[in-house]
Each structure stands twice: as structure tokens, then as C-alpha cells.
Amino acid sequence: MIHVENLTKYYDGFCAVDQITFDIHKGEILGLLGPNGAGKTTTLRMVTGFLRPTSGTIRIKEYSIEKHSLEIRKLLGYLPEAAPLYHDMLVYDYLGYVAMIREFGKEQIHYRIRELGELCGLNEVMHRPIGELSRGYKQRVGLAHAMMSDPEILVLDEPTSGLDPNQIVEIREIIKQIGKEKTIILSTHILSEAEATCDRVVIINRGRIVADDSTESLKQMARGESLINITLQNATFQSVENKLSEIQGIVSITPVDTTGETTEVIVNCQSSVDLRGEIYRKVKETDWILLDFHLETKTLEKIFREFTVES
């Protein structure tokens, strides 16, 4: 669907995006992940045709961005970072204007706006000026703008930034729902978001791709070692350490909180073998009271740090 090859962008000698190559297939939700200033927004702006690449090619379906910019923009729906909209227009008027430019017929416009208002939860603010809306509502108007023409490809730059937790969940649901039929690229620096919504994640740092894999296999990579968190009552750290170090495969046992009546430790297990059964049996042999026992889920967080923090 989208093919990006050796994409490079220089801003006055500063290299924002350096030789990026990736492909997006139809129906895929791709997450562009990276720390601030990694080049996510620049990449998306080039894909939408807003910025001209210094070098490299972008092909969307059979169109190339240099020659068929207008056709590509007809296929795309784009939500820029922080949704910069016309503040002096009413939401309804704004969406109407977008619909006109997207060449909707007069009768369809009203129907389409109602539909989008329903989907994005905008119906109660339809007749208010955009400038007066809260951040979350502006973001929704931006999303409605991007989805206006029911485009095949949606490009969303930090779609959940500035939203409250409830709104984040809502927007993610919307994205997932439309992602069933559409191709979506979204950028984010929030890992849990990429994990929750994306099929595939491309991690970029300093303008380069450092990882490109499905969310699942990236998570697998993180499971080279696993951490188990245990909180016990009636036990000293010393006795816990003695007891548990009998188990094969445990690398280290580190105390987290041993000051109060409870003892909290983190057990670092090396292999991919799940040692929780073993540990439980050991604990059962004693008269300790098991208050908490869980596997620390090592998510994309760790990989992200490994790839993006300079050693």
C-alpha cells in the first residue's frame, strides 16, 4: 500500500530523517514510535506530501508523491500534531467546509457530518466555535476532519496527545475500529498506546529506524529474562533469599522493601522458562503469608529504552 524508500530530510544541514525505508500493507495499523525529536512528525509530513523529501521515494498505491501529490491527498486523511484548526469557525461549518473541498454533494454533507459527529462524539459541540473547545474536543474535530472522505489511508500524528484517560481509551477504540478496514499510520511516544493499537511498530531514533517488527515479536524479544515480584509477610529478606536460591535458573534476588512487616523482593529469572510454579511450591513449604505474587510484564518499554537510549 505504502512504500517508503531511503527517505531523507535535511533542515538547513540538520538531518531530521535519515535513509528510512519501510512498507505498510493494506489493513495494517503501523505505529511510528520514538522519543521527542526522533523524526516521527517529519516522516509523516513527508508521507502526506506536506514536506518535500530531500531525497528518497514515497509510493502510495500506484502513485508517487512528486508526480501525483493531488491524487495521494485525495486518498489520505491526515490529523496533524495538536490539530491546528481554524479557531474562528463553528465545528459544523468547519466540517462542512472540509466536506465541500472533499467534493461531497450538498445532500450528503449533512448526513456525513452527523455520522462523523456520532462516531467521534462531537454532536453536543457542533455549534460552538472551534477556538472555544477543550483540547480533547479539538482533537476529535481533527479526527473527524481526517476521516471525512472515508479515506483508504489515515495518517495520525500523536492522535491521543492532550486527551484525558477516558478520551484516550475512546480514541483508541475508534482507531481500532476503523483500522479493521483502513490502513493507518500513527505516531506516538507512548509505548502502551503502540502496544494497545498497532499491529506493527517501527521504532525510530535520531532519524533512523532502529527496529521494525510486529508488536508481538517485539514483545517476545523483551522476554529474554523475566522478573517476578513477590510480597511476603512473616518473612525476613535473608530467609527468603536462602529459600529461593535453591531453585535452578534464578539469577538474582533483589530486595525492594524490607523495612515494614512485609518483605518485597524481585526475583530475576534468566531463562524463558516460567519459574512461578517452583517459587510457589517453595513458599508453600514455609509459614510465610503470600500477599502479592506477579510476573513483571516487560513490555515495549524495555526494548524502547534499549534502542533509543545512548549507551
Binding site: 509530513r45 502526506t48 506530501g49 506536506f50 514536506l51 518535500r52 493531488l70 491527498r73 485525495k74 489520505l76 491526515y78 496533524p80 495538536a82 491546528p84 484548526l85 481554524y86 479557531h87 474562528d88 469557525m89 461549518d93 467546509y97 472540509v98 465541500m100 473541498i101 472533499r102 467534493e103 476532519h145
Partner: protein, 234 residues
């Protein structure tokens, strides 16, 4: 081109929704009214020559004030990112905004039709020069609007856009009044560049294709410049 019309409609609506439009119109009418009628009764001649001779100077600062927001505001808010990623061409954007400014100018000139009507009731008014004057005013306003639009496409700061636009319009207006500073070989060229010279021709009622061509070419060059400036940004 249909999309240019949608952009045009939006811009016109924004003009008349915001208070700035009414402030600019009021200031324009106040300035024109005062300068025209203070001397009108001294001359006791039933014509609008004085009104039209004032117009280029007044337009030099009023028109850039009208056009300053057209691109600068979008650049400042960032909404031009949304505009340029919709399926519209640069040309459609520039034309839509330009036409909106011209229509606004026409709306601003409509109340001044009260002057010829008043004057006609006081004496024998020759309507030929009045007709020519209004046609010239629209052409002059269009040229200055194009210049103002170009200035607006250069910067995200509306005040800077206003000052650049005003500087160019003032230079165009006043250049043929300063001819004695320049070497003789340049006089013909500089006089041709001056907007006032061409405008005064039309407002005398002489409609010469050279003058019309002048205003159209100024508009074209400035719009082309705005088009390039917007494209060059990214």
C-alpha cells in the same frame, strides 16, 4: 477550480464574522469622508476628483491591513498544514484568498457610492469619470491585495506582513512623485511602475488598455510570488 470557490467562500465568511472587517471599513470611510468633504466645499466643483486622488494613498495602508491575515494567520496557527494536505493546489489556495480580499474591498467601496449620489444632487456630475474611478479603484485594490497577499505569505507575523505590504504599496503609489531624484534615463520606466500614474489616468475617465494591463500584471506578479513563497516553505 471549484475548490478555489470553497476556499473563497470560507475566507469571505471569516472576514464578515470577525470585527476586524468592520473596524477597517469604518476607518476607511472616516478617513475618506473627512479628507474629501473638508475641501469639497472650498472648491465648489461637482466632481469626485479629490476623492479618487486620495484613494491610492488610503488603499496603501488599508488594503495590506485587510490581507495581512490571509496567510500569516494560517502559518501562525499551523492550519495551513491542514489546508495543504487536503486535495487542493497552491494555485487554488492563492486564488481563493485573493478573490475573497477583492470582494471585501468591493464591499468596502459600496458605502462610498453615497458620495457621487450626494454630489450629483448638488450640481452637474459627470458620471464618466466616476465610473472610471470605481473601475480603477477595484483594479488598484486588486493589485494591492495581491501585493498584500504576497507579503502575508512571507511571514507568520501579521504585523510584519502588514508593514511589508504597506511599504510596497506606498512605494508603488509614491514613486512617480519622486521622479526628480532619479536619472533621466529611468524616468519612463519608473513612471510606468507607479500605480498612482495609471490610476489617475483611469479616474479621469480615460480607459486605456495599458493602464488595465499594468494593474493586471502587478496582480499577476504578486500572486505568482505568493504562490512561490508558499510552495517554497516546505
Amino acid at each position: 477550480m471549484r475548490r478555489a470557490i470553497h476556499i473563497f467562500k470560507r475566507e469571505v465568511r471569516v472576514y464578515f464574522v470577525s470585527p476586524i472587517a468592520y473596524i477597517v471599513i469604518s476607518v476607511f470611510l472616516l478617513v475618506m469622508g473627512w479628507f474629501f468633504f473638508t475641501t469639497f466645499f472650498l472648491f465648489s466643483q461637482a466632481n469626485l476628483r479629490n476623492f479618487f486622488s486620495l484613494l491610492p494613498i488610503t488603499f496603501s495602508f488599508v488594503v495590506p491591513a485587510i490581507t495581512m491575515r490571509l496567510f500569516s494567520e494560517e502559518l501562525n496557527v499551523g492550519s495551513y498544514e491542514i489546508l495543504l494536505t487536503m486535495p487542493v493546489t497552491f494555485l487554488e489556495v492563492v486564488l481563493g484568498k485573493f478573490l475573497a480580499a477583492v470582494v471585501f474591498l468591493m464591499a468596502m467601496l459600496i458605502p462610498t457610492l453615497a458620495y457621487p449620489i450626494t454630489v450629483a444632487s448638488l450640481g452637474q456630475l459627470d458620471w464618466g469619470p466616476v465610473f472610471g474611478g470605481y473601475m480603477g479603484a477595484v483594479l488598484l485594490g486588486a493589485a494591492f491585495a495581491a501585493v498584500g497577499l504576497f507579503a502575508s505569505s512571507l511571514t507568520r507575523n501579521q504585523i510584519i506582513a502588514f508593514i511589508i505590504g504597506m511599504a510596497i504599496c506606498f512605494s508603488l503609489t509614491l514613486i512617480d512623485k519622486m521622479l526628480f531624484f532619479f536619472p533621466q534615463s529611468l524616468l519612463g520606466l519608473l513612471q510606468y511602475i507607479g500605480a498612482d500614474y495609471h490610476f489617475q489616468n483611469i479616474s479621469k475617465g480615460i480607459i486605456d488598455s495599458r493602464d488595465i494591463l499594468y494593474f493586471l500584471s502587478v496582480s499577476f506578479v504578486a500572486l505568482y510570488g505568493a504562490n512561490l513563497a508558499i510552495q517554497g516553505r516546505n
